[in-house]
């Protein structure tokens, strides 16, 4: 079986977690894609940590407002019913448990629920931005990642080697081949995505995986 990276499948699967009215913060990059796959009838309230609630889609060309950007600095819009606030209020909302879920990118994630995504010492040090607050504050933390890096190494590990963004805070890891819940020091495989198999996942992942008794195949289409 050949591994074909699919950001879309990761985003599709995460999007199915949400119910109508959930307050969600999507990290820049891959996590932002989640917004494209939210099921019909489900409207998310997106929080943008740079200071507003009700993040809307990219504006039409020519209608960009440089004073209305997302946390990546790109021009966006605000939905009816949204509101602006300062950074202290933004993180009061995040840290205070008023955000239902956050989706964050991954450099490494391990079976203890540790996440590393802000620093490769000496090489790439972008900084943690809001990620450390999001991981401790959001009710559910989704780590969104391709299952393997460019060299084919598992991004799911027994123990992170990079500096942590958060310790023991990840609830779910969603890759392009399966859905894992982090529980009791192991990745619990809940779903494997067609065409991958349980055996493939167990063989290729460098971590302790428990196959859930209700584990099932899911076709993300």
């Amino acid at each position: 079986m050949e591994y074909v990276p699919s950001k879309e499948n990761i985003a599709k699967r995460i999007a199915r977690f949400f119910k109508n009215g959930d307050v969600v913060n999507l990290g820049i990059g891959l996590p932002t894609l989640v917004g494209n796959y939210v099921p019909e009838g489900v409207e998310l309230i997106l929080q943008s940590e740079n200071g507003f609630m009700g993040l809307g889609p990219v504006p039409e060309a020519g209608k960009e407002d440089p004073m209305l950007v997302n946390a990546g600095g790109s021009c966006v819009t605000i939905q009816p019913g949204g509101c602006f606030f300062d950074s202290a209020m933004s993180f009061a909302i995040i840290r205070g448990g008023h955000v239902d879920a956050t989706v964050l990118g991954v450099l490494e994630v391990d079976q203890e629920g540790n996440l590393a995504n802000y620093k490769v010492p000496g090489k790439m040090v972008p900084g943690m931005g809001g990620a450390m607050d999001l991981t401790v504050g959001a009710k559910k933390v989704f780590a969104a990642t391709q299952h393997f890096d460019a060299k084919g190494n598992s991004k799911l590990l027994r123990k992170c080697k990079l500096p942590l963004t958060a310790a023991h805070e990840v609830d779910y890891v969603v890759t392009d081949i399966g859905l894992f819940e982090v529980k009791n020091g192991a990745f619990v495989l809940k779903e494997y995505f067609k065409p991958y198999t349980v055996e493939y996942i167990l063989e290729k992942t460098d971590a302790d995986i428990v196959v859930d008794k209700d584990c099932r195949e899911v076709d993300l289409g």
């Binding site: 109508n20 309230i45 605000i78 009816p80 019913g81 202290a88 009061a92 205070g96 008023h98 504050g137």
Partner: protein
Amino acid sequence: MLAKPIVTAEQAVGLIKEGDVVMLGGFMGCGSPPALLAALEKKGTKNLTLVCNDCAVHNLKTGEMTFVAPLVAKKQFKKVIATHIGLNGEIQRQMNAGETEVLLVPQGTLAERIRAAGAGLGGVLTPTGVGTEVQEGKKVIDLDGKRYLLETGLSGDVALIRAKKADKAGNCTYDKSGRNFNPLMAMACKTVIVEADEIVEIGQLDPEVVVTPSVVVTHLVQAKK
């Protein structure tokens, strides 16, 4: 944006259970929600803890009572956490008689304790109260030679909030000095009931002037006009 249920004051106070910690906005009643207070008095739920700046007015000579005072007089609260109770003779009487537990907290400290809980902070270090009775039993932390008290977060079960305008999603604005503790308490409770002078459609509040973001509000009540 999801609309929040608009309920009657009676339905709203039905969400308050015996033993709950109830946070009540207002300062000498200015910014307290009158319909919610009336309904809670009528329902008579007891054994509550009240967190409020003060207990409004109860003049023991004239019998005058305002805002939360009738609920205090009916002993619906087993405990009161407040900053000032000077104009409510009855709660002073209950305190001195040992009938009701009263914890007096400096006003800025009460504000920060509530804010901390709503903001997911364990607490704050404040210089307020150092060297006074307020210090008793608290951790004192020295930073660069200056002493601070560690004051911990204070959260509640239900917040009773008075807003000027709310949209149906729950975004709120307040009315002049009626703002006071309302926005802080709205962040610090699981159930947040807003009695609004006016409830408008989603999209009708300027996103720049919203004080309380919709996502923390759980129920809306239309105030009597």
